[in-house]
Amino acid sequence: MPTLMTPLAVTAYTVTSAMGSGLAAQLDALEHGRSGLRPNDISSAPLTCWVGRVDGVEGATLPAALGAWDCRNNRLAWLGLNQDGFLERVHAARARYGADRVALLLGTSTASIGATEEAYRRLDADGGFADDLLRPAIHAPHSLAAFVAAALKLDGPCLTVSTACSSSAKVFANAERMIRLGLVDAAVVGGVDTLCDSVLFGFNALELVSPEPCRPFDAARNGISIGEAAGFALLERVGTAADAPQLLGYGEASDAHHMSTPHPDGLGAELALHDALARAGLDAARVDYINLHGTASLKNDEVEAALVGRAFPATTRASSTKGFTGHTLGAAGIVEATIALQAIEHDLVPGNLGGDTPDPICGVQFAWRNERRRVDVALTNSFGFGGNNACLAFARAGFAA
């Protein structure tokens, strides 16, 4: 069993997804039940599906000094960093602690593979990358974190976590370990993934993509909608910010079952949940809201609904918000962490958009419509290919388990 964790303060956070750029846009979309999904208009060849595309990525040009990092994923990262005063909050932390005392820990599943795809679409006459794309750093999976380190001028530990769709949940755990050991005083965590052919045609090849907007936990669900997003959070010790919401705990576990389907009994997911609750010092009954992984794939939702049914009482409200954003893959962890934090801040349980005919496997915990209720503790689930599971626990400022 893990030991009780000293909570960390989430002193700033921001998100940009198909719901819009910044927290106010996300809250407005959640409150009005407005999906950001649209018919696919981005793949290089036609593919009938819906996508959670972010408006304004193409116009988010990087500062000239960062021009060598230019690609769609880093533009989305830059767009995201410029919301909600996040850059200023990081600059203040850097000034306060020193640039080498702030870690940068980001999750992504495909980083800027879109730029590598483009290079292969227009190889030069002798079969090499065109000059404008002959920039090795953007063709490596560390592209995102290396770019953000340069953009934020951070000199501390810098790591990319790439465990598919749990990536940007797991970075909260990396941050907690580094702060606990005194390696750093603060950490910027988060993740970015962008729409690209690899994921659209890849998930399509696995027959996991729905031709319609995704319907998580619906009886007639028929697959995922893929989205893109950028999200970031700043973590510091609670003593520096007693009025900030808190990261109470995290859990990580492996299914040891299959590369692309979850364990039939949700074994790894349940281990991660119990690990998070134990670190947070919480009984499941203290959880007010859980943002589910809820991708709208047949198998994930079946396994996860069963887990919710056996682990939580009716007072714990549960929903997937993939119907708003699509599945943002490596960015899903941070996007849904910001939704959990907004649930706490605004006493809003977001409804499970798209679940119009609930799958009978779903229990009384499911919030099919928005609910106004006090949320002191909110969890998020994030599960990835390879059987990689993570669960995060957040709480209102001053919450004592």
Binding site: I113, H139, D155, P157, E176, L183, A256, F385
Partner: protein, 263 residues
């Protein structure tokens, strides 16, 4: 800055020139060890998985299996930190080439094997490991960053951790930009406490300028051909009798390692 102390219980290594850690020892002692067969054995995988697995998975599993065997630990109980600067380059090359010409023909198996955590996924499945597992990268600092993360897990959770860092050679047009000319993989089993299995004690100190300790003569040039070979200064120390080395953990951050033999 706090010092991190961890204990090495196992070392694994594979490259087209070196079959294992003993071969590195022999090379550094002036011998000419026999090269391994061209395909890593990866005996931890069940035979059918071994036949189908991509090279990146075989390489990581081979190094991991060696280190765990040396430690005598049960693989199922080890948390896993797998690192690779470039992931599976052959699959990236295949996917980008296929997407450029016939995106509808993309192989579903190659797609799910393209995730950066494919190797650790196959490892946890083969060993029945439900412990936390992760897959990370940090460009040319992947090994240093992974060592820091693995040591952090060892010390905060007080549990043994399997660290693997591996990269295959590049394929197709991508090879020109990754610059990987040969495969290299290594693995360590790290533990919080000294035990009869302890080979060496490492004291890690973060915060030096990023430098890479020069390599002994037989290893000259190895780092240039594979980012995971950035681990070689530490592996060479472990093959010797003690001393210190420096590794890069981020673009502007280094790690000093003081090593003392225990075995």
């Amino acid at each position: 800055m706090s010092m991190l102390r961890v204990h090495v219980e196992g070392v694994g290594l594979w490259s087209p020139q070196l079959a294992d850690f003993a071969a590195l020892r022999a090379l550094l002692a002036g011998a000419a060890p026999a090269p391994p067969p061209p395909r890593p054995a990866a005996a931890t995988l069940p035979p059918n998985e071994r036949r189908r697995a991509p090279e990146s998975v075989l390489l990581a599993v081979e190094a991991a299996g060696q280190a765990v065997a040396m430690s005598g630990r049960d693989a199922a109980a080890l948390a896993c930190v797998f690192a690779s600067s470039h992931g599976d380059q052959a699959i990236t090359d295949y996917m980008c080439a296929t997407l450029a010409h016939a995106p509808g023909e993309l192989s579903p198996t190659r797609f799910h094997n393209s995730v950066h955590n494919a190797a650790v996924g196959y490892w946890t499945i083969a060993t029945g490991c439900h412990a936390p597992s992760t897959a990370i990268c940090a460009q040319h600092a992947s090994f240093g960053a992974a060592l820091l993360e693995a040591a952090s897990q060892v010390l905060t959770e007080q549990r043994p951790v399997l660290l693997v860092c591996s990269d295959t050679a590049g394929s197709g047009p991508l090879a020109e930009v990754t610059g990987c000319t040969r495969a290299f993989g290594c693995a360590l089993v790290l533990a919080p406490q000294a035990s009869p299995a302890t080979l060496a004690r490492l004291d890690l100190q973060l915060g030096t300028a990023p430098t890479d300790t020069p390599l002994p003569e037989p290893l000259h040039g190895w780092r240039a051909g594979n980012p995971s070979a950035a681990s070689l200064p530490l592996l060479a120390l472990l093959a010797g009798t003690g001393g210190h080395c420096e590794l890069t953990v981020a673009a502007t951050l280094g790690l000093r390692i003081d090593m003392e033999n225990v075995a």
